[in-house]
């Protein structure tokens, strides 16, 4: 078989992504139809920038979901004779099978590795950002609301973490040696408790007058929360549903740890601003508890900037994960992680640039999508 031409490579790549295109079209069609009743998300479809951003994000989300349908090979298999081959090289012995973006220096398919690389990023980045937000919100609200000594202490700690160069912190926190001391587990134990605490306070303040409902919500949170907590932080889930690879836990915890202080600062700043509003004073006069005011008066009114920052922060976390991979921290040397692949690929870049370029463009387009989405959301939320 002959090598494919440039145009037919493009065509086959586009064809491989067919499930992704169908997914994007379905989501866009449904959202457009009901956009009037979808709130801020629906308004996104009035802005071109926001739609492009959402499109890019959906592209990578569906790519991660349908990775098995898109690729012809897995991320690890090394086929003989495919080392450093050009894009569109046919695989010997297999009819109609091509390395669409060529082979890397270990004769693996660059295209498949790029597609599979999206999976970890799209799970870890949003989840880590969510946890960082839980920590930042749970600590930032009281710091901004009560101020005083609590605020000084928390602000000092957050500034301390922010004064660390990110890379140094990663080099100190994400190593096999650190894993054997158990520090990541202690950090996880500390950081993973925040979502549970947050939800408990949330329900406690809302349903204080309805003890029946309160009991239901609190027990659901406690059962599920502690179940997940035992599995994720200590790997001690009795049923084995919740567990995390120690490597992954180490990365996850470090990324949450690095992101939380920034979220804390943002939430604290917003709280300081919003607590001077009249509706907060009204709630105080009504005799609402401080935590009710924080969670049900201040937080909903801070949601605009927080949603925008959430999108931006997922992008930033993606960049951080890439940085970790680039320095080979916390990832197994085989994995199709984008940052790691870029670093691997750059060593032979003048000979064969594709193994480095493919994940580089992938990472860039995902972050770009998130940034554009944030921009669209900001634009639309300012219109209110």
């Amino acid at each position: 078989m002959e090598n494919m031409s440039g145009i037919s490579i493009m065509a086959s790549i586009l064809w491989s992504f067919l499930p992704v295109w169908i997914g994007i079209i379905v989501v866009f069609a449904v959202s457009m139809k009901y956009k009037q009743s979808l709130g801020l998300y629906g308004k996104l479809f009035n802005s071109t920038v926001g739609m492009i951003g959402l499109g890019l994000l959906l592209f990578w989300t569906f790519t991660a979901l349908f990775a098995d349908l898109i690729t012809q090979f897995d991320a690890y298999s090394q086929l003989s004779g495919m080392k450093n081959k050009l894009p569109g090289t046919p695989v010997p012995g297999e009819e109609g099978a091509y390395y669409l973006l060529g082979g890397d220096r270990l004769a693996r398919d660059v295209f498949s590795r790029m597609v599979y690389g999206s999976q970890t990023v799209l799970i870890i980045a949003p989840a880590a950002t969510l946890f960082a937000f839980m920590v930042g919100i749970t600590l930032g609200l009281p710091a901004g609301y009560f101020t005083g000594r609590l605020d000084s202490v928390l602000s000092f700690i957050s500034n301390l973490v922010l004064a660390f160069p990110v890379i140094l912190l990663f080099y100190l926190l994400v190593t096999p040696e650190i894993r054997s001391t158990g520090i990541p587990i202690y950090l996880a134990a500390l950081l993973f408790i925040f979502p549970i605490v947050f939800l408990l306070i949330l329900f406690k303040t809302r349903f204080i007058a309805q003890p029946q409902k309160l009991k239901v919500y609190v027990s659901i949170t406690l059962v599920f929360g502690l179940w997940a907590y035992s599995g994720l932080a200590f790997n001690a889930d009795p049923f084995g549903v919740w567990s995390m690879d120690p490597n992954l836990l180490n990365i996850f915890v470090s990324v949450v740890f690095v992101n939380s202080p920034t979220v804390f600062r943002i939430v604290r700043g917003l709280t300081l601003d919003i607590k001077t509003r009249d509706y907060v004073a009204a709630a105080q006069t009504r005799g609402e508890t401080p935590w009710y005011i924080m969670l049900w008066e201040i937080l909903p009114n801070a949601r605009g900037p927080l949603i925008v920052d959430f999108c931006l922060r997922i992008g930033y976390t993606t960049i951080l994960l890439g940085t970790l991979g680039f320095f080979g921290l916390g990832v197994s040397p085989e994995s199709p992680d984008w940052g790691l692949t870029i670093n691997e690929g750059r060593k032979l870049i003048s000979l064969n640039p594709y193994p480095a370029i493919a994940p580089a463009l992938a990472l860039m387009s995902l972050v770009l999508g998130l940034n554009l989405l944030a921009d669209g959301l900001r634009e639309q939320s300012l219109k209110d």
Binding site: V49, F156, N159, L160, L162, A163, F164, P165, V166, I167, L168, Y171, L172, L173, T175, E177, I178, S180, T181, I183, G315, I319, G322, T323, F326, F327, G339, I342, N343, G345, R346, I349, S350, L351, P353, A356, I357, A360, L361, L363, M364, V367, L368, L370, N371, L372, D375
Partner: protein, 355 residues
Amino acid sequence: MLNFILRRLGLMLLTAFCLTFIVFYLTNLEPNLEKLAKEQNNMRMTDPQVLSWLQKNGYRDPLLSRYGQWLGFVPGWTGVDEDNGKQTGRCVRRNVDNTPSYCGVIQGEWGMSTVFGEDVGKIISKRLGATGWLMLWVMITMIPMALIIGVLAGMREGTKLDRSLSTFSITTTATPEYVSGVLFIVLFASSKYGLSPLFLESGTILKGSAASAIKSITIENFTLPVITMALYGLGYIARMTRASMAEVMTAQYIRTATLKGVSFKNVVLKHALRNALIAPFTVIMLQFPWLLTGVVIVETLFNYKGFGWVLVQAASNNDIETLLGCSVVAVIVVLLTQLISDIGYVYLNPRIRVK
């Protein structure tokens, strides 16, 4: 004002203490010390050998005492070499007869690097110099470009020019150094791909390695690292400038000037620009610490042996004293730029005074 600066300096000292202690604690964890011992000798050391090496080199003193030794509050450890009976210790230097009992940061001694086998103070000051040149050129290219883009985009909000420049800024903030660096190398520094084969018979337009820039900086070897770093920071500053400019352009005095018949060019240059540049100043100052991470990536990517390169070498070999030195530098950079940005803000904006 003096009171404010003193308080900030005090806070800076406290932060530096906490931070260096955390670094000290993390690098002195048992597995890290074991790794250090093995890297200094050989990888197949037995556990008793590791322990005796640690004992001989003063790593068995209590943690706080050793942190004190590094600071210079506690006398450096001393011992006697069993093989030749010579005195060993933290403060023992070759070619010096009388050994001082204290040798820490207070005495101006930053310790010995285990990776480079040199004085940490010397290494860091030499490598910081190299990074200084990189930073200088990054600033020279990044700041004017960012300000021009921001002002052009912000002066007429919502126009096509604004839209395209804003999209450009967003794209640059979405392109971390390790992505843009790789793309630039393929584009300009590959003899088979990108632009080089189109324009040149052989060789490349620019060099993909900045290793020779330590000796002499040329356009060939320094352009790629500089643009790679400048590009990532550029978008953020440009967006801040744009927001600030757009806000100023809606102010009353701008409308007055326009209605008086001042030309648009003069409105922008004489009335709007000065006020619009206050906010970006703070952003630019706060950008420095962020550039520190960029320095590490770019220096690794382009093989430029500066501060970032030292940090990576020290961190991957658990070189305790070099890492402590690096973190002190980092803290000073972060907190000093915060201080300068606060003070500068007050001077630029007379409406705000520090209480």
